[in-house]
Structure formats: C-alpha cells, structure tokens
Symmetry: C2
Subunit: 205 residues, 2 copies
Amino acid sequence: MTVTAESPKRKFIHCALRLFAERGYFGVSLADVAGELGLTKQSIIYHFKTKDALYGAVIADIAQRLEATIDDVFAQAPDARAQLEAYLRKLGQHMLDHPRDARLITRELLDNLDRAQADNTWYMRRFLDQSVAIVAAHPNWTSKTPAVQAAITYQLIGAVCYFSISDPTLNAIWGRARVSEMTEVFVPSLLDLVEGEKREHLPSK
Amino acid sequence: MTVTAESPKRKFIHCALRLFAERGYFGVSLADVAGELGLTKQSIIYHFKTKDALYGAVIADIAQRLEATIDDVFAQAPDARAQLEAYLRKLGQHMLDHPRDARLITRELLDNLDRAQADNTWYMRRFLDQSVAIVAAHPNWTSKTPAVQAAITYQLIGAVCYFSISDPTLNAIWGRARVSEMTEVFVPSLLDLVEGEKREHLPSK
DNA sequence: CAATAAACTTACCGGTCGGTAAGTTGATAC
DNA sequence: GTATCAACTTACCGACCGGTAAGTTTATTG
C-alpha cells in the first residue's frame, strides 16, 4: 500500500477548498488550513505568498475539473439532445458527489460582487460559455436569442448548485428520509422540465 | 417634509442587512455597521447585546417580509394555478427588487451548515412550508409525494435566488445589455417551465 | 430642579488576523 | 564534505476583532 504522494501545494489547495466551502473566505484563517495538515500558517505563505493567491488557486482548481467534465460530454454524446441530458446528469452527479464545489462556486458568486468588475480573469468563464453552447444546441432553444439561452443555462446550473448546498438545511427541516427521496427525483425532474414532458414517471402518492 | 423617524434598532437592522448581504457574517465587523451610520460599535452592543443577535434580527426581518408576500398571494389568487403564478411573479419581483434578500438567504443557507442542526428555531421555516403548500396545490403536483413537491419548490426558489445573486457576475461576463434581456425573460421562462408549455412567446432570433 | 432612563461615548482587554524576517532541517548535487 | 535548495519553523509585528466596564449626553417626567 503506497502513499499517494500529493504535492504540498495540492495538499493545501485540497484542504483549503474544503474549509473555504464550509465557512467562506473570511471564516477561514491560514492557521486553520495549515493546522488541518499539522503545519503552520507560514508554510502556506511560503507556497502561495498571500491568502488571496491560495483562494485563487482553489477556484482555478474547481474550474479546471468542471471543464474536464464538459469535455467528457462533448466527446461522448451523439447529438445535441443527448449532450444536454448527459451534461445535466454529469453536472448533477458532480455537485451531489462534490457538494463542496457547489458551495464554493455559490460563495464565489456572492463574494465577487465588488471583485467582478475589477478582476478581468474570471476563472469560470470557459465553463459557462461551454454550458451555454450545449443549451443553445438543444432543439428547444436553437432558435432563441443568446439571452434566452444564457438565462436557461443559468437556471439549470443554479437549480443544481442550490439544491446541493441546501442539503444540510433541508435535512434539518424535513428529515433525512424525505431529503433522500428528493435527491433521487431531483435530476430526473430537471430533465423532465427540460424536455417538457409531463413528469409521469415521477413517483405518485 | 418630515423625516421618517426610523427606530435606532431598525436603522441598524437595515444597514446590517446590506453589509451582511454584500460581504457575509465574518466579512462585516460591528464597527463597519456602526460606522455607516456615524456611530460606534458599542451602540450596536447596547441594542443587540451580541453580533449574533444582530444577525438573527436581520434574518427574522427578511423572513417576516417574505411571509407578508405569501399572505398576499393567498388573499388575492382565485385558484391553485393562479396562486403559483402569482407566487412566482411576486417572489421573482421581490428578489430582483431586493437582491440583498436573495444574497443573504443564500448566504444563510451556506453558513448554516453546522448551525442548522443546533439551532432549532429556523426563521425561514414558515415561509418554506407555505411555499411548498402552494406548489402542492398546483394540478401538476397534487398527486405527487411530499418529497417531490418539496423538491420542485426548492428548485423554483433556488432558481430565483441564484439568478438574482448572479446579476453582477453575469454583467461582468456578458455585459449589461444581454443581462437586462435575460432579466426580462427570466420569470416568464420559469412560468413556462412550470406550465409545461413550449415557450412559444419567448423572443426568437 | 432633581430623578430617571434611553442612547449613546471613550477607554480598554484578551485574542486573532495576515504578513515579514530570520532561522532550521533534511535531502540531493557536485 | 560542503554548497544548494525546497520545505518548513519560531518569533514577532501592527491592525483589528467582539465584548466589558464605566462614564456622558439628552430628553422626559414629577
């Protein structure tokens, strides 16, 4: 059993992703991150120079993994309709498997209110453009304006992220049993909304 | 012209809502809030005892205003279908008019990961239950399980909040013109998704 | 005019923050 | 065997944090 030799930088990114997702930028100190790995905050400063730079590396890491998922969709699905279905399934699966990504993306959206204008390198841009391209190719929306296509795309991504981050709260409100039911029907119900079907295969009372 | 005499407590709540929405709980200090009103942080301590209590008052304030919106829907719309339409229009309008509410609700969702279990008084509970009741009454979902109804409700609220908080970022990515187009078609497109129509009245190229 | 109470203020405290500076350690290279 | 370098450490700094304690100001009331 060999220890997977993760580079020190990647170890910090991995750990920081988790903490930033849970508590946000201001809710996490460098000492918190380093402490989780049994190190001191100065080891982070050594690798990343500043806290901002560490945060940037975390965002870039998520963006890269999301782009990889999309490339996968383009490679596998035969036509536009199948591509959108594959996209939604993969995105949904990704965000349910990695709720931290959904949490951090949503936080990034919230915290970038001021930064959005100043910072012209927006790490998620490529991912978003590719997502819109998939929606735009679908028969439902090929004839629509780019604005409509972008709005639909955003609704879909938003629904997926929002559902993922709501999980703990939903559990507290309605209990684990009901939320686990909700999770099962979530992606199918989203697909039905997209295809305009009448949701007949969803469970009835 | 009389100055509307807002109580000191309400002035703090109003100001804190804006700052918490913009920068989050840990991103805002008591001195920040008081400074905006030309006062010192101790004046906040005097009124609210702790920072946590101030934050709680802000959340309670939002919850109360949302419940008022819902009561309105129940009072006005004649049947279940019209109620859901009125609900979505009002919710969408509310979140577009008051993006801070959408931002803070989403932040609350994110930050309550740990608190959700411990804190059994969850201010948004009544609002959420009423929202689910409206969705459950709609012909599309009356026959579905409570879990499905809750999932649909959450997707709808999520889409609205997510779109509202995305506004600054979307502007930075695609420009004001396209985003303003998106905003116009947003609620109608959501209604079309709900009613299962084919989006014929949405603008085409 | 004295008493009271709301709505503040200044002064201060222990603790934590991000970041600088100057070592220390252990492995590799020549 | 010593020079080099990555990957750390300890020690420290000024700024800021939430919160306590003890006044001060202002308006109202008997």
